[in-house]
């Protein structure tokens, strides 16, 4: 099926603000669906709440739109109950890294074969630009008018540390690389995670001197470094950079495959009597 056929064209134009990166990431995802010959019937797109949580409205596969932060938990049930499905979980930084942070690290540890795609726009877009778990220190948001005093999560580092077999960070600016990461993540057996650094010109951009839609994307571009060149930076230099590249790419037996052994053992015990 063609990428365009995975989109619900009757719902266009997209609900997102002018210059928001969500549409770019969504477009990349459906291009990957085409490349991997996914079908509408064997694919489930799971979302939480937030701007990116509206992504399922425009995707023409099975969809499950749940609650804020819990998309991965719904996705875990969907996948474990039917391991044949391609389960793709879309989360924002509020969803995936803040209210749902605990689910994220446990999903990575549990290694259920789902793909998570987090669009990280560094703030809560839907509710008006308040700070999230990834808002960088010193930046201004609608709830940190005097400068944000907390440090944002290095999400990809976090998920890699939690044991996910595939973790990569790209940006909307580097859309070709991002699409490649999404494709690899979808192909990976086990929990895969792609973080897309994205722009929110309406809120984050406006409050941080980048009110033109392209302004924040330009800032992302200028502050991006590769994983290899980031190794030469000091900790404080690294903190203000978007480190793009792969954080993990390894083989690891996924939950459903391992559970087949549990079933085998359990049946042996059952057949052996009480």
């Amino acid at each position: 099926m063609k990428a365009q056929e995975f989109l619900v064209k009757e719902k266009f134009p997209l609900f997102w603000c002018a210059g928001c990166g969500n549409g770019s990431v969504m477009h990349a995802i459906v291009r990957c669906f085409e490349k991997l010959n996914y079908t509408r019937e064997n694919t489930v797109v799971v979302t939480g709440i937030g701007c990116w949580g509206k992504g399922d409205d425009y995707i023409n596969t099975n969809t499950f739109h749940g609650t804020h932060g819990r998309a991965l938990a719904f996705g875990t049930g969907i996948k474990l109950a039917n391991p044949e499905l391609n389960v793709v979980v879309l989360m924002g930084d509020g969803d995936g890294a803040t209210i749902g942070g605990n689910h994220l690290i446990h999903a990575a540890r549990r290694n259920v074969d789902v793909t998570s795609i987090v669009v990280n726009n560094l703030n809560y877009g839907m509710t008006g630009g308040q700070y999230s778990g990834t808002t960088p220190c010193n930046k201004t948001t609608s709830t940190s008018r005097y400068g944000h005093i907390e440090h944002g999560f290095d999400l990809s580092g976090l998920v890699a540390a939690a044991g996910a077999p595939y973790v990569a960070r790209g940006s909307v600016y580097g859309i070709v690389q991002l699409e490649k990461f999404i494709l690899e993540a979808l192909k990976k057996k086990g929990f895969s995670f792609v973080e897309a650094i994205s722009q929110c010109p309406t809120h984050f951009g406006r409050l941080n001197g980048m009110k033109e839609p392209a302004g924040m994307l330009n800032w992302i571009k200028e502050n991006s470094v590769s994983v290899s060149s980031a190794n030469q930076l000091s900790d404080s230099e690294r903190e203000n950079k978007f480190i793009l590249g792969k954080f993990a790419d390894k083989e690891k037996e996924d939950y459903s495959t391992k559970y087949l052994r549990v079933i085998r053992e359990a049946k042996k015990i059952k057949e052996g009597g009480k």
């Binding site: 134009p13 997209l14 002018a18 210059g19 990166g21 770019s24 990349a28 909307v172 859309i175 839609p213």
Partner: protein
């Protein structure tokens, strides 16, 4: 020749396509709608289509042999 078509109904005039075009093929109308003006410079790199947040652009045509 490459041609970038802009779907006026979908385009939100964000300017990302024209700002980041490596060879600056776009001009903008008064309301911000991008126009693929310098068609002859276009290399068909497709980055504008890929980055467009509104899935409003399509690239057609190709290099004349």
């Amino acid at each position: 020749m490459w041609k970038v078509e802009v779907n006026e109904k979908l385009c939100k005039r964000c300017g990302i396509c024209s700002t980041f075009c490596p060879v600056k093929v776009f001009t903008c109308e008064i309301d911000g709608l991008p126009v693929h003006t310098y068609q002859e410079k276009c290399t068909g790199c497709n980055l504008c289509v890929l980055r467009c947040p509104d899935i409003a652009l399509t690239l057609t045509g190709g290099k004349e042999q």
